[in-house]
Symmetry: D4
Subunit: 252 residues, 8 copies
């Protein structure tokens, strides 16, 4: 219940349009309604022209189209993650202006022009070519959220010189997303070079004792470099989203 | 090798003060020296009047005092984490102006006045009273790094109303650190209420199937709220440090 | 051996119809027979017109039909869980009055009218749309066991207001089944709102460090809300069955 | 904000005692206040003469006494779990009417006569003598919550006849709490004998591959007996509390 | 090198048929030859008319046929485990007298009549219908090794009476193999009823927290019944083989 | 209820000493009594002059003495495992004829002469000196159960020749217990040398990735030698007991 | 920046061809360039006529061909690991002189004659036939790196005599690679026979509690034989590569 | 049985000094004796003036002294690892010429001058000061085995420049031992800089999700740098020993 509605209610009461009992009844339901309203508002303020996000995995094309059509009238942009290529084709038939990002396996639909609401540059670094899909999911998410994004791919710790040659880009970035599988050492190394917030994304790339990303995850959680925080295995979206929140920090 | 020294070298060469061979020899060693210098400088720029950080666990009092004395002349502030009370007493005998934060098990020594270089407010939230030591480590770290810190303690998900009553503080914060043991659900709930960067800290609080913090860690990594990133179990320092980097994000 | 048969034996002995040795021989076998009888009776009392339950996974259609036909004459209702759609079609050809619950992947066949033997209302809550199959298995089981069932779906902790808006349904329920994957935080939140028995069902929904439901399972076992008990990952049936036993508690 | 206060506010508004703006301001804060009130009320309804529960582990005696003294005036009963004997002695000096349950490591303080609000009988079964402390924690909790409790101890599956000899007690119970370490098989066996809600409590009793209770926990989660739900390792309190909620199920 | 060959060598030396150097050379190679011979002999004594065992999984039909043909002239019986039905058909085309045991997924080829060299009765018990393939692998192995085998299937702990009704068979057996998935409680229960060597076989039957047989494995390792030993998950062959060794114990 | 008591009851009935109703009442309680009797008898037959076994860990000396005194009149032998030296001293004060086996941490009290009821020889092999306590627990148990026991200690796989030099003892044994920590490879090697039942006991000896015996346990479960079965980590008693059951196999 | 380029720069400066500022600018970028150059050089010295290594798994044929064509002009040899047979066929169409090693699933393309730069003999030992693919990957890698390689396959610890019969080959080798699945005991046994560096490779061969190679991995890490080091599960390439580095140790 | 003894035997036979039967009897025992001799010889050739190694942990001082005294006459050097300071003091009283290495927790006793039998330089690198004890164990072992050892301590990946400044030492070494806890990333980084055999030693240093060294272990096993092999957690001795074997590789 926003202030406007509350004022209406009280004025109605004062003007005798609604009885005390009726006002009481409506106010008794306030807490839950209000929270709902508050949350929706709060979300809405976030979402002006922006993020309606759909996790595509396991959803039928028909479900996805239904959600998109419901939102379509509301002038909101849409990001669908984990969307297979064949499903994306179906969606594109209906929404030809949407864009499918193949490597990121993500689709964006942006009827509203995205205003650049992030105020810094997000750099996405990844260790090996197999980590690129996760890195791209992070990059596409960050762009969709209104940020400028740079990419440095295929710079694992076994070839430090490649990473070091990008020193300027490291220095420019506001936040750095580091994506790595196997032993997950790259965030520590990057964290030793710069004093920026680093979001580390372990990937399930590897075999044997990589245990589907556990080795990388543990490596990152135990990073000896301060300033590294971690998201779930393969969670490129989460990293891109968190980085976007950071670039929007008010006094930051 | 900073620019000044490089210029000196080249000018000395041009002026004949040093021979071509000598110049060659000195330049051949440049890369490694230079990196060292670069890194130190880079660290130094960070450290003006600020963080020399010592992990106190497992260190002898004599080691700690030796490090502190070496730094003391350099006008730098010092933070020692994981310092037991009895060791702290020894340190305080030698550095009586230092302050021991008992609940955080941390000691700060700040001969330089800390300039407020963080530009937002960091909020530290924790779920239960047993999580307070980790929360305090995060809070003391963030303050030491020059940030303003608010605390909301003992607001677990089993008593949502306590958390909701602090809605204004949630809205004010630039970054929120959420500390929780057991099932680690609190960061998801906070993340559902606000659109801020949230750093989740699992604690080893609990018993049985909490497995020393694994349950909380997994809960946080799988958070259904976007924008949550995670640090190691009980790593209050890491959270405080990462939050400080976020409040300093340039364009952020 | 029930009392009737025992009395017959003793009277036969007294009347000389059976010899002492013969009586002795028959009584020596009593313990095992008796337990068998006791258990069967006990089961039977449970099953009057009710639950013959078949775990469908891995069973051939021919096996299932054989079991159903054997039971069919006995006026018992049948529930088959984890039955794929194509197998269900085969069963429906032979038992056209049976009902296949597609989302629950369960089939019910109820020649006996189910008397409402549960005496309260069971509420099934789930966190995300992907959790619905498990939630439906719980709901269909509870209904099959003679309970009234309400459903509140898609109310994860990241959107608390949706959950709070159902406050009346939470208040009405006798038992609440809460189904959630990922971090499994929902049961704790529900448990913080009401003082009802809560049966938490972790699901294998998620990826990466959700480890096929382990994260949710651990989260639920470590719930900070009292009154939460847990069943196996994806075990919707077990939750529905346990909830049914609770609504039938005599003095409860 | 309860109805009385809401009515006062509206009447004050109608009577001109408070201005529209002031009313608006106070109502804007309603949602959070209200939830707090609602929750407290809801808790209060639960707590008439009953459970204030304190987790004693890791708390100082002074903390415990402070909490107890704050509550003391409010006519509420108090249960302290995981309280070591030496701490208990300190508490008893100050509250001599309190009772320390040594085997359960729990202390109860019940200035209010506990009304029997549970409406059935709770049976606590345990497998071995080493499981007794956890079983007693469950039993003491259930009694404190106003239930009648029976105990059958030391009836492991390796001596089935001991369990079977208690068949009448099994039949009488409304809810059965089964406590077992090692392989945790007892709940399955009990669940095969009766159709009651069974709350299984794994204990950390055992060595080697019992892994501090994991073996028992997994055994219980995979129970082949329907109707078994599980709580955390060694969580006797949780089992006793959940069982108490079950015996209070309204229509149950 | 058996005694005969050694004697020949020494006699040849004494008779001058072989020179000292030649004898020396041949004796220098003795240790390794001898061990080889010893082992082969030792194996051979075991194998008179019996077990050549082939692990079929992952082997091509051509490999299997090659091994069988090489052995065929040597009058030995052959057991192939983990052989899929389609591979078995290929083998049967070439060895039509072989027998394929479908449920056990094993093939036996016994040109030599198996003498009953086991001197007791091996009983194979399993908990659920899904455990039958593993139980059958154990049973077929034990029969192939020359033992008499009884089977009691589908007698889980949730229906104790079914197990108890087989009390005579339990009493007759020399060794009992107990096969169970899920919580793996059956061996403990059987071990509580009889004082026989029990070989427990965990199966990968189950879902969720059964973790592919880990729950059953841990349950069995932590059995509270003495006399229970355990083999690998799904290792029916290993159980059948070990049981066969037990029935052949000399003074046993 | 043994045959004698049953006959008395029926004769009393026939002679009119007890009424039909009274007989009925007493027989109704038979099943459970009978099982109890049966089990006790069955245990008793096992226990003639033999195993009352007490797990000493965690028991108070007073508890142990109470059990021993209760048994003392019944002419039974007693084995107490996991008994610390200081507790043993207390027990020996009261039962000076008892024997404390220091390395095995076990106490035996054998007022009845143990008849040699095992009919073979049990060989206990261990890999390193640190494994000796577990090996001794196995050996003392097997001796207490009436078996002849040989020991071969400190013969790890890294020094195969030491093991091979005991070839005769390997050949004589009926059952071989192999105790090993670290990688647990010894049972496989022994199993490759002889065709005897081998009971493998993993120990918690080791550090780092031995994970308290898990490495050894897994190694033994995956043994490539057939005929190896496994007990819990450090469970020397279980191995000794199971070996004793094997040497008593009737037709074995 | 190698010495030549540095000298040019300084001479140009002295000769006035480049200004002081320009020299300064170029030198400021030295560190990163230099490291890059150093690393590339260092790699190049390694690669004269040798290892360009491509991890084939997950790469498209087109990607692989692109890399090969780029390298082709540079006179370097190429090794592609984890290449499926059908992809290999595509590669062979374009590079018919390449060789596909079917069992190793590796392809080698060696336009430069490999000089024998390894100075010893590498022996590859494996336990079972299922371990051969991993063993072959190690062997092919070692050969590609310019080493002589011997193979001893199918010599598990359950048949020690087979291993012992190869005593001469064990004695000749410089480094021994031991490949084993299941319990992974073979490296310990080999390590007990010879004093050579042993590289142990666990394989994912096995089932049940082998957990995809974890049992073998732990067994090898806990090896009681000194001198054993371990690589990742199934990492035949890593073992072959490390062994090659060892045979090239200078003063070794 | 060496050639000399064999020749004596055969000549004695030819000369009639020993009978054919006696010769036969002695030769029958050859295989096992011979292996023992072979192994001892083989060890002896290794041990000329060198390594008798004793694992000190868990051994009594009296045991250690007994072993040392037995060896003392044989002119062999002795290394005792994992020896606490107080035990070392006892040993030094009896063997005052021995040396206790405090940080390594190792004692060396070298009556024979160690000839430099390793032919290269072993470099020991460690990440943090807490890793030094393990690094020192490796270094002391390598020195004891006759190698020259260099140390570079406290060069974690978070401060790459410190590592890079030691580039010459990296280039000189024959083998590099890299010791690291936490995320264990250092071996990958070192492996990216040089093409030497690298032995990685994970340490149990860290907290929370380092899980006592598992994170470091997994990181090292998944190293993206080829040529890295791994030993057990905290196994400095194993790394030092394996490195020593590598520097002794013949043709290497």
């Amino acid at each position: 219940m926003n202030e406007g509605r509350l004022r209406d209610l009280l004025e109605g009461l004062l003007k005798g349009k609604i009885s005390l009992e009726e006002g009481l009844e409506r106010l008794k339901l306030l807490p839950f309604e209000e929270i709902e309203v508050a949350c929706v508002d709060h979300h809405r303020s976030l979402r002006r022209g922006a993020p309606e996000i759909i996790f595509g995995e396991g959803k039928e094309v028909s479900d996805i189209l239904a959600i998109m059509e419901r939102i379509d009238g509301q002038d909101e942009n849409i990001l669908i993650t984990r969307l297979s290529e064949d499903k994306a084709e179906e969606v594109l038939k209906r929404f030809p202006e949407a864009v499918y990002h193949e490597r990121a396996r993500a689709l964006t639909y942006t009827p509203n022009e995205t205003e650049d609401r992030g105020r810094g540059l997000i750099l996405v670094v990844c260790a090996g070519t197999s980590d690129i899909p996760v890195a791209e999911e992070a990059a596409v998410t960050a762009q969709f959220m209104g940020n400028q994004v740079h990419r440095i791919y295929d710079v694992g710790v076994a070839g430090l010189h490649r990473l070091l040659s990008h020193r300027e880009r490291l220095a420019e970035a506001s936040v750095i997303i580091v994506v790595a599988g196997m032993e997950g050492a790259l965030p520590s190394v990057v964290g030793g070079l710069v004093d920026k917030p680093i979001i580390a994304v372990p990937t399930s790339v590897g075999y044997g004792a990589s245990f589907g990303g556990i080795a990388a995850l543990l490596g990152m959680l135990n990073s000896c470099s301060s300033g590294v925080t971690v998201v779930n295995i393969d969670n490129g979206f989460g990293a891109g989203y968190a980085a976007s929140l950071i670039t929007r920090v008010k006094g930051g």
